[in-house]
Amino acid sequence: MSAKRLQLLGGVLFAAIIAVPAFVESRFILHMVTLIFFYIAMTSAWNIPVFGGKMSLGHAAFFGLGGYTGAILYVKFGVSPWIGAAAGVAVSLLGGVVMTLPLLRLRGPFFTLASIAFAEVLRMIAIDWRSLTNGSVGLNIPFKPGWANLTFQSGKPFYFLSLILAVAVVFVAYRLRHSALGFHLRASASNDEAAQALGVDTRRAHFIALLWSSGLTGLIGVFYVFFIYVVEPSTMFSLTLFSLQPALNGIIGGIGTIWGPVIGAIVMTPFGEYLRFYLGTIQQGLNYVVYGVVLILTVNFIPGGIVSLVRPKRSNRSDGSGSSSDTKEAR
């Protein structure tokens, strides 16, 4: 596919997306597409440190910190969700500092493993700190519709809010990837020693990338809580829903690229909901077996993810070089 045709296709698709709520009355479809937008935002935010080769399986931590902050401020102290969103970002940034400073010394897989523990610890705290979080029951967002309360009768406002979030996060990820920071991260991912010898403070680059990622994930968490009207530890700090799912979306779509997380979220969100609904009733956990199989097949047969199959061919000025390396580096 040529870049021009891809752009045209993207434009048409985007126009269709904006028009959907005008024609579709089905709450189910609106909910599903909204969920896709949330997962696009979440996966793209998760993907920012992956530019530098750092894969977290603990992003539910930031999602939960943001969501809980927004909910507690609103339910317990009557603070506007819009201010709560800013506070949610601040708290998840703090969580980002606490998690990443000790973990940054760890290489690839060890970083990933340690990140799981972080979200689990926060889930325990959310269960035990009853006076603040109401324990495992959680907090309900009272139904008082209105923009000031970020609560709505119709599903349409959140359709557009989540769409704006998705576009904003993808845009931020795009800008970061093409900035000096993006270069430092990519250099570190492919040869950290050489990057350092060239003057790149790679630990600082990873740290900044994780802060962007955690702050954005916290922001998404706040909006998500008001979308589903409730915070509870097992949802907000869910390993499977918000730590594994973004990673899975990213890997299947194509990690470390801009469009991989978008495509991954679009494909995997309906698939995941479908599996959870149908297979979950047959035998709990069966849906994750299917996930595992899909993951293994992807990593083995299309290691660059779906995005590596649809990337437009770039003109290559090098003499006689093949296109074998095309898939390695995505725009």
Partner: protein
């Protein structure tokens, strides 16, 4: 004052002294060669100077500034450039590879692109700017390695076997580039396993064997030194 001062540097790997009490100076404007058999400790010495490894003993001073406590990126910013014996370019275009060190100093994308392009021109790589390095020959990849290190605008450039593995034609293409860089005012410290190539460019040569510095002098002095002949040819001589 010398540009680089190395004093009593020692590095152990378990029981092995990979670098054993090594001291030497390099003056600004020099081009100094470092030879020695495989495993002599040459690359380890570079790793100590650039901060990838930490010595058990000894001091490294660049342009009057002690380097021991600085991280590798800080040493790079202080004016130390190096290439790696095993070239592994970043998985990005040739141009982007050279932009990395420039962006570590100034985050402006356009400026970095322009300077990187100039650097590629200097190393006759500009026609490959948009190529992926893994589609290139070893000789070309080694030149990317030099271009990247040179883009840091180093006071001292350390080259680790940038000619090894190249055929005679490629060597005769890459050798003048090293001279050209030197003529631009960069001090060069170069490891080369190939004696002939090294002798052709160096003003002064250091010789290492089993972690120790065993000789130093002009190429002529060193090639006639009995200890060096022994190290390379394994002949018994009473003085060593």
């Amino acid at each position: 004052m010398p540009l680089l001062q190395v004093k009593n540097l020692t590095k152990r790997f378990g029981g092995l002294k990979a670098v054993n009490n090594v001291s030497f100076d390099i003056q600004a404007g020099e081009i100094v060669g470092l030879i020695g058999p495989n495993g002599a400790g040459k690359t380890t010495l570079f790793n100590l100077i650039s901060g990838i490894l930490h010595p058990e003993e000894g001091h490294i001073i660049l342009d009057g500034q002690p380097l021991n406590q600085l991280s590798p990126p800080r040493r790079s910013l202080a004016g130390l450039g190096r290439t790696f014996q095993v070239v592994r370019p970043f998985a990005m275009t040739v141009l982007e590879n050279v932009m990395v060190p420039l962006l570590a100093r100034d985050p402006h994308m356009d400026k970095a692109r322009d300077s990187a392009m100039q650097m590629l021109a200097l190393l006759r790589l500009e026609h490959l700017a948009d190529a992926q390095p893994d589609s290139l020959t070893l000789a070309q990849r080694k030149r990317i390695e030099v271009a990247r290190a040179l883009a840091t605008r180093p006071k001292l450039l350390m080259l680790d076997e940038v000619l090894a593995g190249l055929n005679p034609t490629e060597i005769s293409e890459n050798l003048p580039i090293i001279r050209q860089v030197h003529e631009q005012g960069v001090t060069i410290f170069i490891i080369e396993h190939l004696m002939d190539a090294l002798m052709a460019v160096s003003q002064r040569v250091l010789v290492m064997e089993l972690g120790a510095l065993i000789a130093s002098g002009t190429p002529q002095e060193v090639t006639s030194n009995e200890c060096v002949i022994k190290a390379y040819l394994g002949e018994e001589t009473p003085t060593c």
